[in-house]
Symmetry: C2
Subunit: 237 residues, 2 copies
Amino acid sequence: MSERVSQSEENVSLRDTLISAGLAAHLADLLDQMPQRRLKLDPRQIFRPEGFSGNEVMFVRSGILSKFRSDGRGGRQIISLRFAGEGILPRRGSLRYGIRPIARSEVLVGDAADFQRLVDGHPEMQEFFLRLVERNEAICYEWLLNTGRRDCLGRVAHLLCETAVRMRAEPSWMEIPFTQQEIADITGQTSVNVNRVLMDMERDGLFSRNGRKIVITDWDALCRVGSFDPTYLAIDL
Amino acid sequence: MSERVSQSEENVSLRDTLISAGLAAHLADLLDQMPQRRLKLDPRQIFRPEGFSGNEVMFVRSGILSKFRSDGRGGRQIISLRFAGEGILPRRGSLRYGIRPIARSEVLVGDAADFQRLVDGHPEMQEFFLRLVERNEAICYEWLLNTGRRDCLGRVAHLLCETAVRMRAEPSWMEIPFTQQEIADITGQTSVNVNRVLMDMERDGLFSRNGRKIVITDWDALCRVGSFDPTYLAIDL
DNA sequence: CGGTTGTTTGAACTGATTCAATCTGTGTGG
DNA sequence: CCACACAGATTGAATCAGTTCAAACAACCG
């Protein structure tokens, strides 16, 4: 599909990221030239509160955005992630979720109407975004299986695998972008337990850690623990 | 939006159901006239196994379809439901989930290509299905919050509320279409616990039961327990 | 240096699972 | 109409995975 883009590279252009995600160059140019604001977001500051208008497109240039919902009692569930090159499409009405960057992120925000015009005019682009929507649906189903049926080890392992693939991490290592609290918010657990799971997995020889940086010593075993099969993340078939 | 269609009525036409879901009559006619097979499905018989081709459209005329995934060890997670009038759109490649009717169901199956032609030719129809896709995404997010953050009582209450709305049940009562095992498969629990939750809720005066038939005595309280807010299920805004 | 944010650890607790048995309702065939 | 089979619902007891609360520790940053 696409050549590997280093995870450490901070200044990839949106154009390049879209192209590496499978969009034709001339269409990526069109999106790149759409009227847009470029915003730098500080990590963990709420960018859009729950209930905000969905009348805008967002593309992640670098970093990670999360969609989240809060339950009544201080809890928070992260329901979706957008890595660099991925986007949040417009929705009619208001969003039922909030948007919060995970790491320091750069985002392009455009007008829903402009985006709609572009997509309507280019069936190939429509096709591209349809695929992304399908991919997001597949991810959502995977997460439902994760929170619904897998045990704590499986949940975290699956998330790590998915993250490694979506970040296009080097085969051997990656910098985990999440705090343990965020891993808990994604997998429906508590940070305390996530911590214990991470230590268990390290003890079991799945990877070794140094702060957020982990060296995956046994990728196959990690996939097995998380029953992870990456095919659902592929965009080109 | 739409007039109430009785849940007991078995022989509603797809056309009517689509219209009541918000599709213009002449477009509903077109879908109705598309080449299609009509199938009657027995409850709980797997209709499409996991990994089946996604090269077809399905519309539920009556009954309920479920998308499910099995974990390795006998467990099963239901990741999505389609009630009468709802459909499963084509996907490129193969499905990562299986399809299984909940109740006795009648389904229309058409060819992906035929469907695509229709949609491409009618922007209004495209708009309609886009909205349904967005609705399904909203439901999926709601389920993630459900399995991830709510306790067993909240999960079941939320499911009951959602089901009542999507079945267009009478305000006062409904026939629960699920076995307790299926409720467990949806909410990420065990059937034993679901049973206990149901008895608790009955004891708390949220509803009274007679077999699968429940009379909801306190709808507001049920909504509160499940922190259910039906706006995400609306199609027309 | 002090403040802040995130990680690690322990101990007590509890919500939910597991396993196993019983009960109930429904449909089938004799 | 009864006997039987079968699927689903109900119940109890033991167990355990994961939470809760609280405290200590580490890393980072102005």
